[in-house]
């Protein structure tokens, strides 16, 4: 037994303290592979961010349970940007420089993505953005897996118009997502021989929809297309039902329950019959999805996270990255990008997913589903839909150094 004197003790504890306080430097080349997760775990976006983060952690656990990557364990590095853009940029820089993570998954709103995307671009830290958004990002360093308006609106409009008629009244949130989506709606309505009788935009804090509900009744459209965003805007569906119009004019939405929670906050009376179109629904019937849902239920038996496109695509992000690491047998960004650009198809809960080498956006199955008693019932599915909107403005094969978010104007 060694005798512990004071000097020896101080040396040993000092070394231990140094290891604890400066883990990034010592462990950077060490025994784990770090993967960054940047989702809002508090603040107004927490209802969306928490399920994404839980699925992110689950995906990391899954990789470790099957032996890790390159013989090493994968370690999740998670920060909470609190729905605050300055924290986003701070944590993104920290992940890239201090933690030196191999890849980052996250960002929810377009604002947060445009805060962190240039940072990861500059430091060449591979970045996965897993949210449906308005399209237009052109950056070889980013893999964008969520759906864009051209993928979903293109399917939703003809489906709804066939069911209900040709006169469409658009209501949308007053920021770039709403405006771009409204423009796509107009394009596809006209392409299908219909007419947009009116388009109204709503600032995100509008809670009273009485005047709009009256205006809609005056315009007598065949259907309403809603790209409203956020919980304040849920008031529209509530007040629409209260005015007794629910059965009179049907609603299709590009946004309702995109994060999954709206379906629960609205009562069945208010939500039933609303059509939506996303890249993932829990009711998708395939073995991969069944296994995925079982895994989620097993990992989170209580407070099971609501599985929306955002949460499922986060799983895809981690898994597609891990597959690239296994194939390329390295963490080197360019080697991984080459694997993903090779047009490989991935069997995911949402269906087959591949990455379009020109835009780094996903080519994926898109579904139309109707809300019934707080669950989505799938009505139609469309295999392998291309991200046509981003393809109009972006070609990474010609401009691999692009670092821009195009405003797609129609």
């Amino acid at each position: 037994m060694t005798k512990l004197n004071r000097r020896g003790f101080l040396l040993a504890s000092g070394a231990a303290a140094a290891t604890l306080s400066a883990p990034s430097i010592l462990r950077a080349a060490g025994d784990t592979i770090k993967v960054g997760g940047l989702h809002d775990l508090s603040g107004p976006l927490d209802a969306t961010g928490i399920p994404m983060n839980e699925i992110f952690k689950l995906a990391i656990d899954e990789i470790n349970a099957t032996g890790g990557l390159l013989g090493k364990e994968v370690e999740a590095v998670i920060y909470d940007p609190q729905s605050n853009m300055s924290l986003y940029s701070q944590y993104a820089t920290q992940m890239a420089l201090k933690d030196q993570v191999a890849v980052v998954q996250g960002g929810i709103t377009s604002a947060s993505r445009e805060t962190i995307r240039p940072i990861f671009h500059r430091y060449k830290t591979l970045y996965f953005y897993n949210t449906l958004y308005e399209g237009g990002v052109c950056d070889r360093n980013e893999i964008t897996l969520g759906t864009t308006p051209a993928q979903t609106v293109e399917q939703l409009i003809p489906h709804a118009m066939n069911l209900w008629g040709k006169k469409v009244y658009t209501i949308a949130a007053d920021y770039n997502y709403g405006h771009i989506t409204a423009a796509w709606v107009k394009r596809y309505v006209e392409a299908n021989g219909g007419e947009v009788v009116e388009t109204e935009f709503f600032p995100l804090d509008v809670t009273q929809f009485g005047s709009t509900i009256s205006k809609i009744q005056a315009a007598k459209p065949d259907l309403i297309l809603s790209a409203l965003v956020g919980t304040a805007h849920l008031g529209f569906y509530r007040q629409w039902t209260a005015s007794g119009m629910k059965g009179e004019i049907p609603i299709a939405s590009t946004t309702l329950a995109a994060g999954g929670t709206d379906a629960v906050i609205l009562t069945p009376d208010e939500g039933n019959g609303i059509l939506t179109s996303y890249g993932y629904y829990t009711s998708i019937d395939n073995p991969t999805n069944a296994a995925f849902k079982a895994k989620v239920k097993e990992a989170y038996p209580e407070n099971t996270p609501i599985l929306s496109e955002l949460a499922e695509v986060t799983w895809e992000g981690v898994m597609i990255w891990a597959d690239a690491v296994r194939t390329a047998e390295t963490l080197e960004r360019d080697a991984l990008l080459e694997v993903m650009e090779s047009g490989k198809s991935y069997d995911m809960p949402a269906g087959m997913v591949s990455i379009d080498p020109k835009t780094h956006h996903a080519v994926r199955d898109v579904y139309i589903a109707e809300l019934q008693d707080q669950e989505f019932v799938i009505k139609e599915s469309f295999p392998q839909v291309q991200p046509k909107d981003t393809q109009m403005v972006c070609n990474l094969e010609e401009t691999p150094d692009a670092n821009v978010h195009h405003e797609i104007s129609l």
Partner: protein, 288 residues
């Protein structure tokens, strides 16, 4: 013709809405010169109490009209005792403290109840006005706004408590020398102001999505209404709500919600430039 009637009803509804939102704040601000930055979160608390107790099986009207104001009122008294009473006369400090409180409440409610709770549908259904359909609930809002204004007026004008409150408001030192315990008056006032806010939150719950962060959507409108109205509780709230409500709603009908919001802000801006003390700083000066 029907459309004109609809516009009038919608304007009345918008005015009532501002009255309900702002009354609680006006009571606290008009009486105590304390700016409660957690006002939006008090509304949120009223909304949460309503939907939580309704989901637990309580009758919606009881939850909305009794439980919500009661609980938020009690909460308000506690807040006054533990935080606000140390900060009288220190407007900036109370601003900071109540802002901190608002963050605490958002975090606390998220932790306790979660951020995804099924809401309640608007009760009472719709009614036809000519070719148009309206929620009957609109008339409930208008009725409660009128009732609220009327009862605040009656209490201040005809009861002893009202007299004491007015005395404290006008000259706290003199009131104190006459044997009125002004600290208790302040406590009661804060409690009543909070209860009124709780009621507004309860009435709001069946109209919108109730989530912990909803307060920010309402705090702006409430403050603009109170500041534009000026110091008099009733005349101020009523005149400001009428002016702002009808202008913003009129613009919304004419052009859309974006310009409706802008019109509200522009009106408030011009009014405060011309009448920096609020409407009741110059007009209706002696009114309650």
């Amino acid at each position: 013709m029907d459309y004109a009637l609809i516009i009038v009803i919608e304007m009345l509804r918008a005015i009532s809405w501002l009255v309900l939102l702002a009354s609680g704040l006006a009571i606290i601000f008009g009486m105590m010169r304390v700016i409660n930055f957690a006002h939006g979160e008090f509304l949120m608390l009223g909304g949460y109490i309503t939907i939580m107790s309704h989901n637990a099986g309580v009758n919606l009207w009881i939850a909305m009209l009794i439980l919500a104001p009661l609980c938020v009122g009690v909460f308000g008294v506690l807040v006054e005792r533990f935080i606000i009473r140390f900060l009288y006369g220190r407007i900036l400090d109370s601003l900071l403290a109540t802002w901190g409180l608002s963050l605490l409440m958002v975090g606390g409610v998220t932790l306790l109840f979660g951020n995804t709770v099924q809401g309640v549908s608007t009760p009472l259904g719709g009614v036809s006005v000519g070719e148009y359909q309206l929620p009957v609930y609109n008339f409930v809002l208008i009725g409660f706004a009128a009732l609220l204004m009327l009862s605040i007026w009656a209490v201040l004008k005809f009861t002893k408590a009202g007299l004491i409150a007015r005395a404290t408001m006008q000259n706290p030192d003199m009131a104190e020398t006459l044997g009125i315990r002004t600290t208790w008056v302040y406590m009661a006032t804060f409690g009543i102001g909070s209860a009124v806010t709780g009621l507004a939150g309860g009435l709001l719950a069946p109209l919108t999505g109730v989530v912990p962060s909803m307060g920010v959507n309402f705090v702006g409108q409430s403050f603009i209404t109170v500041i534009t109205g000026g110091a008099s509780m009733i005349a101020g709230t009523l005149s400001a709500s009428t002016l702002l409500g009808s202008i913003s709603q009129g613009m919304t009908f004419l052009t859309g919600p974006v310009y409706g919001d802008a019109a509200l802000l522009l009106t408030a801006l011009i009014l405060l430039r011309v009448l920096p003390q609020g409407i009741t700083g110059r007009i209706f000066k002696k009114s309650l």
